[in-house]
């Protein structure tokens, strides 16, 4: 039986018995199938989104969807203009970036260039801790502390209970670890010889950090920001809890806004029947979100690849 198998599979090793090799092949196939499951997940996501999205555009004109400025799918006279959701998403994302980029990059430069190994051992777990806080907890913090105590109290503003400002700023702290850790990796990957060369020419620490290391790591830093944007766009709970759920077509952060993610969560929460336009709406909006984050991710991967090619 051993010879039969080895004859059937030319080119494989002549050592070992046939029975053993058949078992080996079965295991190999089993492992491959497990790996294939991740591809099937993607196929499943794309298929389920695409199917209902196409059905949705049978009910609603694609042009009305993309350019409409009124979003009221649950009203008696439903309007399906997605722009308020998109601007709401971009508004909150923009606010988050205003917090996350400077704080994240400051943290990254400090960790990569200034901190002693001992300080790094304290600071890095702290950043990981921030990254591990569930987003619902950030949402609670934004609603019950940041809006009433910080915005209305300390800064003396007069914002309503639900507003984009509080959700965006708190989301910035959720995005910060992503920006900080990827930027720090990129800066640490810059070879020491570049720093030594600059020091040799008389540059000080600040000049080396900002004019040598920072530009050299720029593609990785851009990647960290793009991934941060992608996280902010996809974040649901902070906005759902703290920004209210009103699809306002506005750029004023003191208003309540609805984002793409919060619409999906809020709508799916109610038990809606399969096949209705409302049910399909979830998928059309989800498709918009999926395409946006996929695009961001593709850009980020391209940038990361660039800095790897240069230094590794």
């Amino acid at each position: 039986m051993g010879t039969a198998t080895s004859a059937a599979v030319p080119g494989t090793s002549v050592l070992g018995t046939g029975r053993r090799r058949r078992g080996e092949d079965a295991i190999r196939v089993g492992l491959f199938l497990a790996a294939l499951l991740s591809v099937l997940t993607t196929v499943g996501i794309v298929f389920s989104l695409l199917k209902e999205t196409l059905a949705f555009f049978g009910d609603v004109g694609i042009w009305d969807f993309i350019t409409g400025t009124e979003w009221s799918p649950l009203f008696a006279d439903p309007q399906f203009g997605v722009l308020p959701l998109v601007t709401g998403t971009l508004l909150v994302t923009g606010l988050a970036l205003v917090v996350a980029i400077p704080l994240g990059l400051g943290t990254a430069v400090y960790l990569a260039e200034y901190a002693t190994p001992r300080t790094r051992r304290v600071v890095k777990p702290f950043i990981e801790l921030l990254a591990g806080v569930p987003t619902i907890v950030f949402g609670y913090f934004a609603l019950t502390f940041f809006t009433p105590v910080v915005l209305n109290g300390v800064f003396g503003m007069d914002v309503p209970t639900f507003n984009a400002l509080s959700a965006g700023i708190v989301m910035g702290f959720m995005v910060l670890p992503t920006v900080a850790s990827i930027s720090e990796d990129a800066m640490s990957a810059v070879p020491g010889s570049l720093r030594e060369g600059a020091f040799g020419l008389g540059a000080n620490k600040l000049q080396v950090s900002l004019r040598v290391v920072f530009p050299a790591a720029l593609s990785g830093i851009v990647a960290s920001v793009v991934l941060g944007v992608s996280r902010a766009i996809g974040e649901t709970m902070i906005v759902l809890v703290a920004a209210g759920q009103q699809p306002n077509f506005t750029a004023d952060p003191r208003n309540s806004v609805e984002t793409i993610t919060t619409f999906i969560a809020a709508t799916a929460k109610g038990d809606i029947a399969t096949g209705t336009t409302t049910y399909k709406t979830i998928f059309a909006v989800g498709m918009t979100l999926f395409v946006m984050t996929l695009l961001m991710n593709a850009i980020a991967i391209r940038f990361v690849r660039r800095y790897r090619q240069v230094y590794e």
Binding site: S38, T107, F173, G234, A265, A268, A300
Partner: protein, 296 residues
């Protein structure tokens, strides 16, 4: 020759000031995030203090805030996490082993799998909820809003975490171990099963714990999949009538959505429990990483 050093010296007074200012700015960045984290924890603890106790842990949800509790949410979370773990451990480890030990990365399908896992790691969690809704709850499998659907949805969501950390752990086992095993006549699978996997278990376990701690805190996909916010029984079973479920983050969200202050205190109590659970799990992960760290 002398021009460059001269110009640097001329500026050196102001650059020193700039250097100090920059250091202060960086420490301010760190300080601000520290203040936010501390404020968050203190806020939650202060809010939870009046209600935290055995009643909150053992009671069922109620419209009366002084009688409401977390029991079904706790059991729901345990059920979902168990399903999630049973799913991600075999599938995640098998994928990691395949990609590290078998896959020939010059083949297009293996590269496709790698790129795909990278992309999946960045897909927003709510999109996994949509997948769960379309495929598991309704559609082809039509399981309904049950424990199995919730656990599998979260499993798919955190699978990339397990795969990526599993691959790193397997890659850290030096080739000499494999070569020694093969030289003694072991097949490839025997080598993996008896040598590579045991050596990489601490790394894999760390990845699994981190993945599960992410799954525990996920709320959005469970909302879409249809976790119940008001439930009067603990789940018993994976599918069918008794398998409706709630979960800690879902219950917290439900209480946050109530306007009354009393419910916010209950939510804070739930958050304290959730954060405590996460701290324990991360503590175990860090312990494993330090205790069994192999130095080859």
């Amino acid at each position: 020759m002398s021009a460059a050093p001269l110009s640097l010296r001329a500026k050196s007074g102001s650059t020193r000031v700039k250097d100090v200012a920059f250091r202060i700015a960086m420490l301010a960045c760190l300080g601000l995030s520290a203040v936010v984290l501390v404020a968050l924890i203190v806020d939650v603890l202060v809010d939870a203090a009046p209600v935290f106790g055995s009643r909150v842990l053992t009671s069922f949800p109620s419209s009366n805030s002084s009688a409401a509790g977390l029991q079904p949410a706790i059991f729901g979370t345990l059920w979902i996490i168990a399903v999630c773990a049973l799913f991600i451990v075999p599938v995640g480890v098998a994928t990691a082993v395949y990609l590290e030990e078998y896959a020939d990365s010059s083949r297009w399908w293996n590269r496709l799998i790698e790129v795909n896992i990278q992309n999946l790691a960045a897909v927003p969690s709510i999109v996994y909820g949509i997948l769960g809704l379309a495929f598991l709850v309704r559609g082809p499998l039509s399981l309904g809003r049950v424990v199995l659907a919730g656990g599998l949805t979260l499993g798919l969501l955190v699978l990339p975490v397990v795969i990526i950390s599993g691959r790193e752990a397997i890659r850290a086992v030096p080739p000499s171990i494999r070569e020694g095993s093969m030289a003694l006549g072991a097949t490839q699978w025997q080598t993996i099963y008896k040598q590579v996997l045991p050596a990489s278990i601490p790394g894999i376990a760390t990845g699994v714990i981190l993945a599960l701690s992410r799954a525990i805190g996920e709320t959005a996909p469970l909302i879409v999949v249809g976790a119940a916010t008001f439930i009067t029984f603990n789940p018993h079973g994976l599918v069918g009538d008794g398998a409706g479920f709630s979960a800690l983050p879902i219950q917290i969200f439900s209480w946050i959505s109530q306007p009354q202050e009393e419910f916010h205190q209950l939510a804070a109590a739930g958050i304290v429990l959730l954060l405590g659970l996460l701290c324990c799990m991360n503590g175990v992960a860090i312990y494993l990483r330090n205790r069994y760290e192999n130095k080859w």
